[in-house]
Symmetry: C4
Subunit: 252 residues, 4 copies
Amino acid sequence: MAPSSVIVTSRFHESITRHALRSYLSEFISTFFYVFLVVGSGMSSRKLMPDASLNPTSLVVVAIASAFALSCVLYIAWDISGGHVNPAVTFAMAVGGHVSVPTAIFYWVAQLIASVMACLVLRVIVVGMHVPTYTIAEEMTGFGASVLEGILTFVLVFTVYAARDPRRGPMSPNGILLVGFVAGAGVLAAGPFSGGSMNPACAFGSATIAGSFRNQAVYWVGPLIGATIAGLLYDNVLFSSFPTELSEGIGV
Amino acid sequence: MAPSSVIVTSRFHESITRHALRSYLSEFISTFFYVFLVVGSGMSSRKLMPDASLNPTSLVVVAIASAFALSCVLYIAWDISGGHVNPAVTFAMAVGGHVSVPTAIFYWVAQLIASVMACLVLRVIVVGMHVPTYTIAEEMTGFGASVLEGILTFVLVFTVYAARDPRRGPMSPNGILLVGFVAGAGVLAAGPFSGGSMNPACAFGSATIAGSFRNQAVYWVGPLIGATIAGLLYDNVLFSSFPTELSEGIGV
Amino acid sequence: MAPSSVIVTSRFHESITRHALRSYLSEFISTFFYVFLVVGSGMSSRKLMPDASLNPTSLVVVAIASAFALSCVLYIAWDISGGHVNPAVTFAMAVGGHVSVPTAIFYWVAQLIASVMACLVLRVIVVGMHVPTYTIAEEMTGFGASVLEGILTFVLVFTVYAARDPRRGPMSPNGILLVGFVAGAGVLAAGPFSGGSMNPACAFGSATIAGSFRNQAVYWVGPLIGATIAGLLYDNVLFSSFPTELSEGIGV
Amino acid sequence: MAPSSVIVTSRFHESITRHALRSYLSEFISTFFYVFLVVGSGMSSRKLMPDASLNPTSLVVVAIASAFALSCVLYIAWDISGGHVNPAVTFAMAVGGHVSVPTAIFYWVAQLIASVMACLVLRVIVVGMHVPTYTIAEEMTGFGASVLEGILTFVLVFTVYAARDPRRGPMSPNGILLVGFVAGAGVLAAGPFSGGSMNPACAFGSATIAGSFRNQAVYWVGPLIGATIAGLLYDNVLFSSFPTELSEGIGV
């Protein structure tokens, strides 16, 4: 019977194999481009309209960029690293036992470094503009904003779980698109209230480069809790013993 | 020969098995998020532009949110509850015999509670903003608005039936996306005239929290009739005895 | 040896079988909803902004409505009538021998009646608004507008042919979406110049209800020629003897 | 042992077979329509709003047109020419050995002629409007703009490689859509800074017709380098010896 320290060491070794290293690189690339495109589109609409935070067109710009970018980066990372691209997804999967804790930690590191790098590159090449950070509307409480981000992250992570579920039927290939789409809808719904981050890495990177960690907790606590509840609910209640007969018995 | 009361009891029992309960939970989750994202995006664009009901950009915001959200929530509910997420769909399926009446009633209850809950949560976390309700343009009659909502619900439900049809060919996986897309197009076409609800649950939830049931009948009568006609036409005329040879005989 | 009158009679009989009648109904339904959603979204944005023809947001509204609506109505008609929903597509397929001339004529009749009906219903239920017609920018010539509509119809029909081609590989299911997408892109590119109809039925219906057939020829000549060239080029040059080895030899 | 001149001749002969000629025609058609729709939508939004370069709605117009058009033209060229439609993609594939150098040269010629033709047709039929060229924001350096275009081309080409990879799982059919989507997100992120070309052919064609090659190098150097790095990284690091077990071992 192996002592637990051996198990820990073995799990750590698993986390630094060649395959695992490729996974971290994959998470790095995908998170880098997701943050680059989302934060870049925010800067882009701010450049065109300096009071952009007051205009619904900017909301459309960032929402479409988020939707399109997320679908794409999930696609390129899907078969290598599992396509997390979001510390909240990784957290939920670690809690649910789908990835080991050391792997989750390496994923987080890759995601956070990628996000900081993306914002840094934007800051350097777009001379004279600040990287925008996620902010909360004046009338919102920090708790309300956290609940809002948590609810949106719930549906995002629930969709990720559905997209990875091999028991899904012929609609399965759309999973990747729909995770992106629901992120876009989330930005449209939450944009002027809490920003619609749904991704702690995104909020962390822009805050690091902008040098302002105000309300940072909002973008971590809500999403991590929302993601974990979504994962546990999916695994243990809705799809615990999913019988294929059911789907044929109900509906057309 | 079983007396009808036995059949009724047995059908009722079927409606409270573990699988059935999971279906109601699934309808609850999907309807909650659909209403949350659609009504939230309406509040979001209203926040950015207080006279938002007069601006086409708000229309784009709500239409994209509706399309993206509906596709996603159908996807996560598709294999569990059949992905109704709409009392009009459930009504048409009950009339067409695809779901039993007790099941349909439980679906309605789940959908309506979910919608009220979604609007309530939005009302609570977004302090100081009212939940917007669906309204009819001044020059429209209630009858005209009901016909408009009915026509749009017709094409929505027709697409749902097509998406669930196992006889569809290789284009089948797109069904879920297209139900969302046609909902988005419906919002774009009907937005300033009747709101483009196409979903009685959506109209009911926002009216309940806003405390105004003015014109509520418009958002029930039209959609329920439109959905039922779509379902009956699909089952009995267009696809009653669909021969696979036909699709090869016409077209490229 | 059958005299040609017998062949004609037999072809005519083929055109009125039960399956054929279902095809016409399918074309009617799909064209009705396509025109309803596209023209409706034009009225919708005009309602919100009376000088809508001068605003790029209206362009986005109509373009997204066109894209989403076309994908959806093609999907519901695809396996029944072949999903033409456009007299230009039917014309090209008749020239290319994919549908018989009597069938093509019945398709045209169904499409044109559907378009007129859709505009009539919009005119009746939206009290006090005129149905917008397709117009040509002042500085454009009729010939230039016709060429523009023809070029856009070319790529639309070429995509329809690709989507129906059974030799396409795993990307095939996206065909329906992409026909809608390219229609949306066409509206974005041609909107303020010629309207971006790409569908004679759409232009005919709105002109009939508005009572103005000015420049109607532009929306027929260009699209019919563009569609025919696209069909002939696809059948005879690009995919005449498509060898599957080729696709593996080039590219990744 | 064949002298190298024989190999060159044989490779050249391969480049002018009937299949190869069809590939060039396919690249020509797809590039023509991509440039036509993207540059056309830029002219369209400029027509509606003469100071369009200052408005985020124009950004949405061009981004959606780019996304929808690129997905569509890749689809129609995918099985014939491999769906490059972009000199940067062709360059990366030539460097990676996926296409021979003579073929790559013919592809470039087809792509560049197509782009010039598309801009010429637009210039002729839209009387009195200039073809817009890609420009760099005042505060940006040429180097910064080139890096920005290179980064966006990297993710575009990486997605193209992923979409062509036969080892991809059930999500594979979405590849074509996602290449278009990421191009749209790129326009949203880079529009007001460097234009978001990500395609040297697009920049070359509009510059040729507008008669201004200012900053043209920016739209060649960055994309060619970004595309090449993406291709090499994909082939040699991330997917060099992709084991199918991995994708099952990580994630849900």
